[in-house]
């Protein structure tokens, strides 16, 4: 039950959403940590199954078999919710070791799985009792809901979950705004709270065992505490210490703005180029959400810069931020940072994925003279930002920058295909590669680089979704 935690309602920002700006996701090496986390989660599920096993008597008929199946489904679902919340609790080792993007993907996949478990739980319980009591399914369902207050609450929780699932379903999700989706998603907390009491009142594993009730409550409490600490208290403490404040906003191109944020002792956060923070701007419009945006310049002790492309309501509002607006920042997060291996460096940026690349580009050591190449993909010339900065850094480092503009259809070829890359950069297998861009582009680039002989541990990538 160790990995069980979950995010609180406040500063939630599902990393992989349609926000804007590069939403830090992928990472390269360090494959051990995710496996460890998955193993811990699986061990917890086994323990839950053991609890059920211990308290389930011999089953002698179909009705009891169904009810027992419903019991284990319910237990696993409740455990699953705790895990899902835990994955989003911003626990530093998880954020660093697994990565925000992977956590968000696990959360999304796990959410669908757990909803299925809950549905199975509800159906199996109703069906099982209807077999035992020789009642119709409808009649049994009504009698369960009307006989037990706790089951009534749990039923409300279930319908909330169905609503959330419906809104999150891919087809519907495209048609609702990010904000709608986000606020509906917060109802999950209400759902978890409503469903809690029926576990102890009706769950056979808990009715009979005080120890089980204590352990189960402790699991919820630990996760709740982690959320409270990492999603509420830590950001407020950081605000108190660093006093993040908007210093100014600059338009970098159509719909792309940089936000400059000042503060005290910013170097104490040890942020590295390529990393990101989750930002909550304390203006009336933006107060209710936090979003992950990468640093787009080398962090300085007194100033940070992020660059955001307007895609949703949130990022659109950033252009109107007033200097002096306070900011809550959570971070730094992310392992997409320069590895300083001494190898030559290839950077590939797609669209607004240039932001962390821009910060890392400026951070490369000068002694790498002549070993740096940056490929900047954009579908339209107006989407290119930081051109002056990039050119200046390149001139300083003797680096080469290739701006490759136009969609694949427009160009008539894929500039990130293996043959094109090897043509552009001979001897690629000796390079350390950094890729940041949309999911599809990132995948193409990473596959090409692998084909060209670069080892996985020398390919660092971060994809963002919208």
């Amino acid at each position: 039950m160790t990995a069980a935690t979950r995010p609180a309602p406040g500063p939630v920002a599902p990393a992989a959403t349609r926000a804007t700006g590069p939403i830090p996701m992928g990472r390269s090496s360090r494959p051990a940590m995710p496996s460890v986390v998955l193993a811990v989660i699986a061990a917890g599920a086994l323990a839950v199954t053991g609890l059920w096993w211990k308290d389930t008597p011999t089953i002698s008929n179909v009705g009891n078999a169904l009810v027992s199946a419903g019991d284990i489904l319910g237990l696993l679902a409740a455990y699953g919710f705790v895990v899902l919340v835990g994955l989003m609790a911003r626990i530093p080792p998880l954020e660093r070791g697994v990565g925000a993007d992977r956590l968000a993907r696990w959360h999304a996949m796990g959410g669908r799985y757990v909803i299925t478990l809950v549905t199975g739980h509800v159906l199996a319980i109703i069906w099982g009792y209807s077999v035992i009591a020789h009642e119709s399914l409808t009649h049994q369902a009504i009698s369960l809901v009307t006989s037990y207050t706790d089951v009534l609450y749990a039923t409300i929780a279930f319908f909330l979950l169905l609503l959330i699932a419906a809104i999150s379903a891919t087809a519907v999700r495209r048609r609702v705004s990010y904000e709608t989706w986000y606020y509906v998603h917060l109802l999950t907390y209400a759902s978890i709270a409503l469903a809690f009491s029926h576990q102890f009142a009706q769950g056979p594993s808990f009715v009979s065992s005080l120890d089980a009730r204590i352990a189960w409550s402790a699991m919820y409490a630990v996760v709740g505490a982690l959320i409270l600490w990492y999603r509420f208290i830590t950001p407020l403490r950081m605000l108190a210490r660093h006093r993040f404040t908007v210093a100014g906003v600059r338009e970098e191109g159509p719909g792309v703005v940089s936000v400059y944020i000042t503060g005290r002792d910013l170097d104490a956060m040890r942020a590295e180029p390529g990393q990101f923070f989750r930002w909550r701007f304390l203006s009336r419009e933006l107060l209710w959400q936090s979003h992950p945006y990468s640093l787009s310049a080398m962090p300085r002790p007194d100033m940070l810069r992020i660059t955001v492309k307007a895609r949703g309501h949130h990022s659109g509002s950033m252009a109107h931020l007033r200097p002096g607006t306070r900011v809550i920042a959570e971070g730094p997060y992310g392992a997409f940072t320069p590895s300083l291996s001494g190898r030559r460096v290839l950077m590939i940026a797609g669209g607004v994925g240039i932001t962390p690349i821009r910060a890392m580009f400026a951070a490369l050591p000068r002694r790498m003279n002549d070993g740096i190449t940056l490929i900047y993909r954009a579908s339209h010339p107006r989407d290119v930002v930081f051109k002056n900065e990039l050119d200046a850094i390149a001139a300083d480092r003797n680096a080469r920058v290739y701006y490759i503009i136009g969609s694949r259809e427009h160009l008539g070829y894929d500039p990130l295909a293996p043959e094109e890359l090897s043509h552009l950069i001979p001897g690629l297998q000796r390079y350390e590669a950094y890729v940041c861009g949309p999911v599809g582009m990132t995948r193409t680039a990473v596959e090409s680089l692998r084909d060209l002989g670069i080892r996985r541990r020398h390919i660092h990538h971060e994809a963002f979704d919208f």
Binding site: T49, W52, W53, K54, D55, T56, P57, T58, I59, S60, N61, N64, A65, V67, S68, A69, D71, I72, L73, L76, M109, R112, Y113, T116, L117, G120, G128, I132, A133, H134, L144, S147, Y148, T149, D150, A201, Q202, G203, P204, V207, S208, S209, L210, D211, A212
Partner: protein, 176 residues
């Protein structure tokens, strides 16, 4: 997509396997059978809860109840008539963790025609809500089976165990 199917299929198969291992269709109607049925629900909680509450009743149900039974059956007005008249036998009180369970049976000839709950667990509203669900089921099962060898109702293992203990002692008294 494939992974989702595998995950759900694996979960379903795993749960089905667990249930299958636990599944033993009730066959024997002997007392031994009923005890073996009961023991899992009684012994599992025993690991964490004081076992004294359920076990004493199990062992003493044959001895003491007779005294209690005669007095209470008299009180109920069942009488000592022959097999043609209906007689009532009140079972021993079984003290469960959540309070006492006691049932009375009405016997006509060799048939149990009615089961009345004399006392039920009263430890808070949870117990009451559990009982309100479990007791009717236990009663209808017992009437159908004509013995105490009935299935525990899931979620009400204490109530079920207490019910069966008390019922068995009543049946013993009735000499069925």
């Amino acid at each position: 997509m494939l992974r989702a199917v595998l995950a759900l299929g694996g979960t379903a198969a795993g749960i089905a396997a667990l249930i299958a291992v636990k599944f033993h269709p009730a066959a024997s109607s002997t007392l031994a059978g009923s005890q073996s049925l009961m023991s899992p629900s009684a012994s599992a909680p025993a690991a964490t809860a004081p076992p004294a509450t359920t076990h004493p009743a199990a062992t003493s149900s044959a001895a003491k109840p007779s005294a209690k039974a005669s007095s209470s059956s008299g009180g109920t007005g069942g009488g000592t008539g022959q097999s043609t008249t209906a007689r009532t036998f009140t079972g021993a009180v079984d003290n469960t963790q959540y309070g006492p369970m006691q049932v009375a049976i009405t016997v006509s000839g060799k048939t149990i025609t009615k089961i009345t709950v004399v006392q039920q667990t009263d430890n808070g509203s949870e117990s009451q809500s559990i009982d309100s669900m479990a007791l009717p089921k236990l009663t209808s099962e017992a009437l159908a089976a004509q013995n105490a060898n009935i299935d525990a109702v899931s979620g009400a293992s204490y109530t079920s165990a207490g019910y069966k203990q008390s019922l068995q002692s009543a049946i013993d008294m009735a000499g069925l």
